[in-house]
C-alpha cells in the first residue's frame, strides 16, 4: 500500500511538472493564467506535503488537511478559467459564466453547504461532509457551464473541453470516495482515501496533460464587432435593447 501511494504521488508530481513545462514552452501561461496558477499551487503543495511525509511523518496529517482545505477553494480557479474562456469572446454574454458560477455557488452555499455546519458531529465527519458538498457544487457548476455553452452552440476547443472533462472526472471520483468514506466510517475511509483520491487526481491530470499539450486557436466567425464595415458594441447594445422593447411591448399588450 505504501509503495502504491508513493508511486501515485510521484507520478502525479511528474504530470504536474509536465503540465508546467509544456505551458512554459508553448506560452500557455498567458492564455490560461488562473488554471496554471492553480497547477503551480498544486505542484508546490504536493511537493511540500510529500517532503513532510518522508522527513517529518508526525506533522503530515496537519499539513495534508491544511493543503486539502485551501485546495477546495483553489479549485474554483479552474471553474473561473473555464467560464472566462467559453464566454469571454462574446460581449453580450461575456459575464454569463461568472454569473452562473456566482448564482449556483450562492444558492448551494445557502441551501446545501451551510446546513452541514449547523449539525453537531465529530470534526473529521464535518470536514468530509463539507468537502463532499463543495465538490458536488463544483460538479453542478461545470455541468451548467457545459449546458450554457451547448445552448449557444459556442465552440469550446480541445483545451477547454479537456479542462472540463478532466475536472469532472476528478470531481466524480471525489464525490463517490467522500460519500463512501462517510458511510463506511473511520475504519475504512483511510483505505478508501489512500486508494481513490490519488487515482482521481491522476486521471484528471492525464486528461489535462493531453488536452493542454498545445494551445489551440478556436475557429469563430471571420469578423468581429467593431471591425470596419461591421457592427459596433454600441449598435449591438442598441439592437439588444430594441429586441427587449419589442418583446416587452408584446408581453404588456
Amino acid at each position: 500500500m505504501e509503495t502504491y501511494s508513493i508511486t501515485l504521488w510521484l507520478f502525479g508530481l511528474a504530470l504536474l511538472m509536465t503540465l508546467i513545462l509544456r505551458a512554459k514552452s508553448g506560452g500557455l501561461f498567458l492564455h490560461f493564467p488562473l488554471f496554471y496558477s492553480y497547477i503551480t499551487y498544486t505542484f508546490s503543495g504536493s511537493l511540500i506535503t510529500f517532503l513532510i511525509y518522508r522527513l517529518r511523518p508526525g506533522s503530515y496529517p496537519t499539513s495534508y488537511w491544511f493543503y486539502f482545505l485551501i485546495n477546495l477553494l483553489a479549485e474554483f480557479a479552474v471553474l473561473a478559467e473555464v467560464s472566462d474562456h467559453v464566454f469571454e469572446p462574446y460581449p453580450a454574454i461575456r459575464q454569463f459564466g461568472r454569473f452562473l458560477t456566482i448564482c449556483i455557488s450562492t444558492l448551494f452555499f445557502i441551501l446545501y453547504i451551510l446546513p452541514s455546519f449547523l449539525q453537531f458531529r465529530p470534526s473529521s465527519l464535518a470536514l468530509l461532509d463539507f468537502s463532499l458538498r463543495t465538490s458536488l457544487t463544483k460538479m453542478v457548476i461545470i455541468v451548467a457551464l457545459g449546458a450554457a455553452a451547448r445552448y449557444y452552440r459556442l465552440p469550446l476547443g480541445r483545451n477547454v473541453a479537456g479542462l472540463m472533462m478532466g475536472f469532472a472526472l476528478y470531481l466524480g471520483i471525489y464525490i463517490v470516495s467522500l460519500a463512501a468514506a462517510q458511510i463506511f466510517g473511520k475504519v475504512l475511509y483511510a483505505g478508501i482515501f489512500r486508494f481513490m483520491l490519488p487515482l482521481g487526481s491522476i486521471l484528471c491530470l492525464l486528461a489535462w496533460t493531453v488536452a493542454m499539450w498545445q494551445f489551440e486557436v478556436i475557429p469563430r466567425t471571420s469578423w468581429k464587432l467593431g471591425e470596419p464595415g461591421h457592427e459596433t458594441l454600441e449598435e449591438l447594445s442598441y439592437r439588444l435593447s430594441k429586441l427587449n422593447t419589442t418583446l416587452t411591448r408584446l408581453v404588456r399588450k
Binding site: L30, H31, P33, L34, E81, S83, D84, E88, P89, Y90, P91, A92, I93, R94, Q95, F96, G97, R98, F99, L136, M139, I142, V143, G146, A147, A149, R150, Y152, R153, L154, P155, L156, M164, A168, L171, G172, I173, I175, V176, A179, I183, R220, T221, K224, L225, G226, L233, L236, S237, R239, L240, L243, N244, T246, L247, T248, L250, V251, R252, K253
Partner: protein
C-alpha cells in the same frame, strides 16, 4: 447505503452529460430556430414587428366569433395563430441568439471583467430570455390572443386604457380547448 448509490448515480450521470455537452460544436450547425428564419426577415425595418402585431391581434377572431357567429372557424383561426405565434417567437429567439454570439475583441490574459458594459449587456440578454420564456409559456397554454399579463380588473386603482383595449380586443381563449 442509499445515499452512496445516489452519489454514485449523480457522479456518473454528471460525467456522461458533460461528455455529451462538450462534444465538438460545428459552426455551421443549424440552430433550432434556423427553420423559422423567414419569420425574422425584416426584423430591423419594422416588417417583422408588423407581422407580430397581426399574429397577436385578436380582432379578426372576435369578428368571426361574436359578429358572424362562426365558432368553428374562429377556433380554427385561433389554433393556426397559436402555431404562427410560437414560430414567430422562436424566430425572434434565433435572431437574438445569432446576435448574442457575435465575437468581439478579447484582451490577452483573459480579463473577463474588462468591459464595463458587459454586465449591462448580460442583463439585457437574461431579461430577453425571461420575457421570451414567459411569452412562449402563455402562448402554448392559452394561445396568442390571450392577455399575456393578467388584467387585475378586480383592483380598481389601476387605470385601464380604453384605446388600447379597443385596438387589441383582449379575449380569453381558455375555454376553447
Amino acid at each position: 447505503m442509499m445515499p452512496l448509490v445516489a452519489y454514485v448515480v449523480i457522479a456518473v450521470l454528471s460525467i456522461l452529460v458533460l461528455a455529451l455537452l462538450v462534444r465538438k460544436t460545428r459552426l455551421d450547425e443549424p440552430s433550432e430556430a434556423a427553420a423559422e428564419e423567414e419569420y425574422a426577415l425584416g426584423l430591423w425595418d419594422g416588417q417583422c414587428l408588423n407581422l407580430s402585431e397581426r399574429i397577436f391581434d385578436s380582432a379578426d377572431y372576435r369578428w368571426l366569433r361574436d359578429e358572424l357567429g362562426f365558432l368553428h372557424l374562429a377556433r380554427s383561426l385561433a389554433r393556426s395563430r397559436k402555431g404562427l405565434a410560437i414560430r414567430w417567437l422562436k424566430a425572434l429567439r434565433g435572431a437574438f441568439e445569432d446576435m448574442v454570439c457575435i465575437p468581439g475583441e478579447v484582451s490577452s490574459g483573459g480579463n473577463a471583467g474588462a468591459h464595463p458594459r458587459s454586465w449591462h449587456l448580460l442583463w439585457l440578454t437574461l431579461r430577453f430570455h425571461l420575457a421570451l420564456g414567459y411569452a412562449l409559456l402563455v402562448v402554448r397554454l392559452f394561445g396568442p390572443c390571450h392577455r399575456l399579463i393578467p388584467p387585475f380588473d378586480w383592483r380598481p386603482f389601476i387605470p385601464e386604457s380604453s384605446s388600447r383595449e379597443g385596438r387589441y380586443g383582449m379575449v380569453d381563449l381558455g375555454d376553447l380547448d
